[in-house]
């Protein structure tokens, strides 16, 4: 669906993916309309395979038929192209470096333990992953207090890059807490700042229709874990 001078904007993705949520939130912040091309669970469309032949993964942004892949790279692209809208990355170069640092931390250090905890084959492995996640939460709590300049979000008064990168994980974080029998990752005592932040983020107009209900993620996670188990068994 063309929208004025935005060109042709399509996003290949799927509703449960936290990585797909990132560009969706970014588009909402910028008030840019896009066509959401949803992939079916368990299969990859020809368009996806053609648009992201290297990784074959979602999300993929197609802007005037040019593909951009990798969620944080897509968010930066959105921020740069639709520069008239509210900024997602900070303007100061050092603040930008801090934002990129924490976005990379979420993906490279924190999120792999979500997968680890969900797919763990032993209690020991599960506990190790949860331990790592809790350590990460403590670090992120510290970062939040340092970066937010006394405001609601990592980005200050409004949602920014770190908010999107980490906030997109909230539905899965909440689901994990339930699925692991009440493990507290968002902890009122240990991570009070992040607890407040999570509530504000989830309620933000740019986020609330994108972040799925925890129950829906739990249902989906069960399907995913089953699929992973059968794939592992047959390999």
């Amino acid at each position: 669906m063309a929208n004025n001078n935005n060109g042709d904007v399509k996003l290949i993705g799927a509703w449960p993916s936290p990585f797909v949520m990132r560009p969706r939130i970014a588009f909402n912040i910028k008030s840019v309309e896009y066509e959401f091309l949803e992939e079916q669970f368990g299969s990859k469309s020809d368009l996806l395979l053609k648009s992201n032949p290297v990784h074959k993964k979602i999300p993929v942004l197609l802007h005037n038929d040019k593909p951009i892949c990798e969620s944080n790279i897509i968010v930066e692209y959105i921020d740069e192209v639709w520069s008239a809208g509210p900024s997602i990355l900070p303007s100061d170069a050092h603040d930008r470096a801090v934002a990129r640092f924490w976005a990379a931390y979420v993906d490279e250090k924190w999120f792999p333990n979500v997968r680890g905890a969900l797919n763990a084959s032993s209690e020991e492995a599960k506990n190790a992953a949860v331990g790592q996640l809790k350590e990460g939460m403590a670090l992120l709590e510290g970062a939040y207090e340092e970066i937010n300049k006394g405001k609601d979000f990592f980005g200050g008064e409004k949602i920014g890059f770190i908010d999107i990168s980490f906030g997109s994980m909230l539905a899965w974080l909440r689901a994990l807490q339930v699925m692991l029998g009440g493990v507290k990752l968002l902890d009122e005592e240990k991570t009070p700042g992040l607890c407040k932040w999570a509530a504000k983020f989830s309620a933000d107009p740019a986020v609330k229709d994108v972040l799925p209900e925890t129950d829906k993620i739990i249902e989906f996670a069960k399907l995913l874990v089953a699929k992973n188990k059968s794939a592992a068994a047959s390999s």
Binding site: E70, I73, I74, E76, Y77, H94, R96, A97, F101, A104
Partner: protein, 221 residues
């Protein structure tokens, strides 16, 4: 105000050299503070408490960590001699390929260096595919950045110089001229570049370290 630019780095580290290369390309004066990685300094631990790793760029007392993040900071702070394309789409592509180099090529070689014998075949097959994909991006360009070195070339520095030494140390050829002629041609251009060549670590010293580390680990198996 006199600018203060320091790099906490290590003479042999490709990640450290990425930062130095970017600063040199921008003609920015800096002080390199060599770090002993076996005995990490308080300075390093203070400036990079999360990862405790080099490189760290310290600009007027403020630290920036993670080499690719540092490259972005350098390009945004010293705007002449850009290492990133200006066009947002081309910039997104540069970021994509830099990430691909770290996560697939460099990580792939790293896994092969330390893997068990029986895992090697599959890992080699995978990494050769990744090198092929990367080579496809060069086509007939002199550098990934075009006529001049850019962000992707800097990110590929391990492949440009260190990879050959690793191959010699482990006695395995991954990237050869007959299989990857375009990538090898790029490697020659890269190491011969007037700004790159003077900051490359000495070959013999680096090779000796790789051989010693690799042999020590192989003996453990």
């Amino acid at each position: 105000m006199a600018e203060q630019v320091k790099v906490l780095g290590s003479w042999g580290s490709p990640f450290s050299k990425r930062v130095e290369l970017a600063l040199k390309l921008k003609c920015v004066n800096y002080e390199c503070i060599e770090q002993d990685l076996a005995n990490k300094s308080q300075l390093l631990l203070d400036y990079n408490p999360v990862h405790k790793k080099i490189p760290v760029l310290i600009h007027n007392g403020k630290p920036i960590v993670e080499s690719l993040v540092i490259l972005e900071y350098i390009d945004e702070t010293w705007r002449h001699n850009s290492i990133f394309p200006h066009d947002p789409y081309e910039k997104a592509m540069a970021r994509f390929w830099a990430k691909f180099i770290d996560e697939k090529c460099n990580e792939g070689v790293w896994k092969i260096m330390w893997c068990k014998e029986e895992e090697r075949g599959k890992l080699v097959e995978e990494v050769l595919q990744h090198f092929g994909t990367l080579e496809g991006q060069l086509k007939d360009k002199k550098f990934f950045g075009g006529e001049e070195i850019g962000m992707v070339d800097i990110a590929a520095n391990f492949i440009g110089y260190w990879l050959g030494l690793v191959q010699e140390a482990i006695g395995m050829e991954l990237v050869t001229r007959d299989k990857f002629p375009v990538l090898c041609r790029w490697m020659d251009e890269f190491v011969g570049h007037s700004v790159v060549k003077p900051i490359l670590p000495p070959r013999d010293e680096l090779l000796a370290i790789f051989k010693a580390r690799f042999n020590a680990t192989a003996w453990e198996y």
